[in-house]
Amino acid sequence: METPSETSEVPSGADLLPVAFRRWFAEKGWKPRAHQLALLQKARSGKSVLLIAPTGAGKTLAGFMPSLTDLAERGRKKPGTAFQGIHTLYISPLKALAVDIERNLMKPVGEMGLPLTIETRTGDTPQGKRQRQKLNPPEILLTTPEQLALLIANAEAERFFADLRYVVFDELHSLVTSKRGHLLSLGLARLRRLAPGMQAIGLSATVADPLDLRKWLAPQTEDGEEAAADIVVAPGGARPLITILESEDRIPWSGHVARYAIPAIYEEIRTHKTTLIFVNTRSQAELVFQELWTVNDDSLPIALHHGSLDAGQRRRVEAAMAENKLRAVVATSTLDLGIDWGDVDLVIHVGAPKGASRLAQRIGRANHRMDEPSRAILVPANRFEVLECQAALDANYINAQDTPPSGDGALDVLAQHVLGMACAEPFSGDALYEEVRSALPYADLSRETFDRVLDFAATGGYALKSYDRYAKIRQRADGLWRVSNPQTAQQYRLNIGTIVESPMLNVRMVRKNKLGSLGRGGPVLGKIEEYFLEGLTQGDTFLFGGKVLRFEGIRENEALASQTFSMDPKIPAYAGGKFPLSTYLADGVRGLLADGSEWHRLPDQVRDWLEIQREVSSLPQRDQMLIETFPRGSRFFMVAYPFEGRLAHQTLGMLLTRRLDRMGARPLGFVATDYSLGIWGLDDMGELIARRKLDLQALFDEDMLGDDLEAWLDESFLLKRTFRNCAVIAGLIERRHPGQEKTGRQVTVSADLIYDVLRSHEPDHVLLQATRQEAAAGLLDIQRLGVMLRRIRGHILHRPLDKVSPLAVPILLEIGKEPVAGNASESLLAEAAEDLIRDAMQI
């Protein structure tokens, strides 16, 4: 817990504090902060409240102030009194955070001698303790969204939550934008029904649109009346000191590793107490970690932390961190959220931060005291990232925010919730529909869609009504929906939650004996996605857990790997943690490009790069989009610079190549980065434009988001991946649980096959609808693409060139790194078949 301020005058509202609190503050020589009292005051008036506060502002104590003071006044429960349900529910996105809060809350509660118990309930809580919690609940229960879903789906939920007064949501900003947030919003709607007088308290970092969060906390009503929680905003802390790393070495044109900066980063680690090094992806984490150790001549304790590593190893790193035993940790977003980590005095961000809000939060990890500035260094990995880092730095100084809006509630999540509610108690369709619509993400849900989801939960929602006899929930004569059998409730409990991981395999170290055969297993290092391992053959080397490993094969459900002394591993291509460039930063980068008077802030080599670009081609104005066409080798290229992020560019690339093909321009392929999109083909697209055979305005017309998009979506492999997630969340496909996998013959059905069958027989099925909705918002970034196409209408600047321009170099270097999908796999097959024929013809 953060220490409250020692300086400010006693603000108004201090008289709201019970004696125990006033005495405690006095003994510590502290005074309550203004926002802590403001929140208490608003909560006392019966309203739900959103608290926006920077890290280190005493946010947690503020969040618990209403319930702690309430409980202090209520006094201890007398033995022998009737059952009392929980008083306060605290929900955090991370298990570790709940445990951390328990520790930090116990201290003041103990010192004040408050009459209450605090307990956690997570996936790790033993069965016996869970049972006991149900019979004899603590006053304050600290838990996660998944546990809440389980609790409200229980037959005893009504009794358990009847006395609930407060529910506190920590790190609310990070929860609401995901499907987890959708499920949580439905849980909140249910809590409100179970305990009508209950108040919600949200704790959040600074966000772009606080109104969104305020509405999320309040029940939405049909008449459109503005329903929103009250708000308290704590003042910001000292300005962070952020710089961009200056390096003598050449900044690369492309790539994401920032190898050039490793010596400079190491030097910073040496001169600081504890450094947190953030990267954007797990493979970046592995590479930066390995590179740091190759220059670690002083053998400084430098550790690695990312989501695929073995949990035990992660816990050890966290513990060592808390005890200040480490000098540096290389980490991905797994360390983003507000757990307390010892004395971090420097944050280094390798690669561009991709969003201004994300950067602000990561910087907040350093120096947890509000009145001292945090210290951070940005390390761009390539030239475009220099521009992006500069834009992010500017944004942080003006406190700009670019958190995404929460979005429409996902239907697969709703299907899961409907089943859960049937497990709790029989429900009427009308009442549940009303309850669901009180949750912000589902406020606009139509009755028809709700009924289709209900039908899905019952019998699969198929037009062919052949599963009535296998229904999971049934509507009985009294009109209420009930679970058909106990097995359904059990299946529901096993499949709860919205986090779907790709199938993963344990990576186990093995040793080769003298005869070359594999010995018995050594330690498990962590997990890697199955699809990555399937692409490996025995002898391939890859980087994992900071080691170069040699792949030996898959035995049962484990991947076996041995140590190797190879220094040049095949890079782990596993996904995870790739954020797209935020709209806000994209605009900043465009502004920086357009305004030459700002370039003096950039490194010399980057400035030279832009100046040459301006000379040989053009730099677009802030509202323009530049397109360059030029020949190179035997191909012709067209490079566009929309700066709208990789996802939107990928979608644009797919759609543009379809169109170019139809216009007869014979495109061959494309590659997309966060900044630009390169298309190459057999025809000179520049000449086609000059001869008016190709109309750029028509090519980039917004109508591509109509039929072309539909046609492409239907054959896209991206949809299959999305479908699998939706099918698992909705309960159509069961999750794979550890230890449950069968060896050899598959007993599960592949989601791809189900997708194919469903799409060819019932393309309008509600789960396919959910899949398209999710893909459009997430993987394809269609909304952003639409905004961009409107923005550039009439503002396309075409530059025909006779050779590649400086700005186009980075994207040309990306060509060949991207996998090619679609018809390419057929030609690989044909090629292999020809090999066989050739072999056969040899005498």
Binding site: T459, G460, Y462, L464, S466, Y467, Y470, K472, Q487, T488, Q491, E534, G535, T537, L732, I733, E734, G744, R745, Q746, V749, S750, L753, I754, D756, V757, L758, S760, H761, E762, H765, P819, V820, A824, S825, E826, L828, L829, A830, E831, A832, A833, D835, L836, D839
Partner: protein
């Protein structure tokens, strides 16, 4: 899925691949069926009919369209080759009660297809009791034209065996890319059929379950492509 699209294609576009087992010539059809012209014999394996319903019975409501889709593919193959004898090599239904509980319209499709020809239902581990209420003969295995037809391949190398059960699929690696497809696997002595059912997965030829079944130096994977079958030698899969 490629095969679902194939069901609507014209005759002339089909690119089958030719192979021989114990000296008898067969064509591997891209829909996943094996045909012997000389004997008018059509072989399919692992139809796993009523798989969706079998899962639904256990509480997982998978789409109820798989039986219909599989039978439609089978009807297309029948139209193409007009066989005198059909052998379905076991795991015809996904569970024991599948054939008894199959919807009437699907049953009618099979009755229609079986008209004027013989049909042998080999039993498999999923349907050890055979099929009920359908035309044709149920058998554990069958010997015909010097070949043995059974569901599960016998242990060790075996001359002249045609089997199913393992759902073979091959992974081809070229230039850091990989393509995985169902395949007919044969070394000239034995052939293992790909699974025919639309909701069935595959098992990689490199998996331990295939160990000892083939002479790998002669093993060829007839990989099922979009419109053709591509024969690739086992050694050539790694590129």
């Amino acid at each position: 899925m490629a095969r679902l699209a194939l069901a609507g294609m014209g005759e002339e576009e089909i690119g089958a691949s030719v192979t021989s087992v114990a000296g008898i010539e067969f064509v591997c059809d891209p829909m996943g069926a094996l045909y012997c012209e000389a004997d008018g014999l059509l072989i399919v394996s692992d139809l796993h009919l009523e798989k969706g319903a079998a899962f639904a019975r256990r509480g997982q409501l998978l789409p109820p369209y798989d039986t219909h889709a599989t039978l439609r593919l089978l009807a297309r193959v029948m139209d193409r080759y007009r066989p005198r004898l059909v052998v379905s090599l076991g795991d015809n239904f996904h569970d024991r009660v599948g054939s008894a509980l199959m919807p009437q319209d699907c049953r009618a499709l099979i009755v229609e297809m079986a008209k004027g020809r013989d049909w042998i239902w080999i039993t498999g581990n999923h349907d050890p009791d055979g099929v009920s209420g359908l035309p044709g003969t149920v058998a554990e295995s069958m010997a015909f034209a010097g070949l043995t037809f059974r569901h599960e391949p016998a242990k060790g190398t075996e001359k002249g065996e045609i089997a199913g059960h393992l759902h073979p699929a091959a992974t081809l690696r070229r230039r850091e890319k990989s393509v995985r497809r169902p395949c007919f696997a044969t070394d000239g002595d034995r052939l293992i059929m790909p699974s025919f059912g639309v909701m069935t997965g595959g098992l990689d030829l490199a998996h331990a379950a295939f160990r000892g079944l083939f002479d790998r130096t002669r093993l060829i994977a007839h990989m099922i492509g979009k419109e053709r079958v591509y024969p690739v030698s086992f050694a050539g899969l790694k590129g």
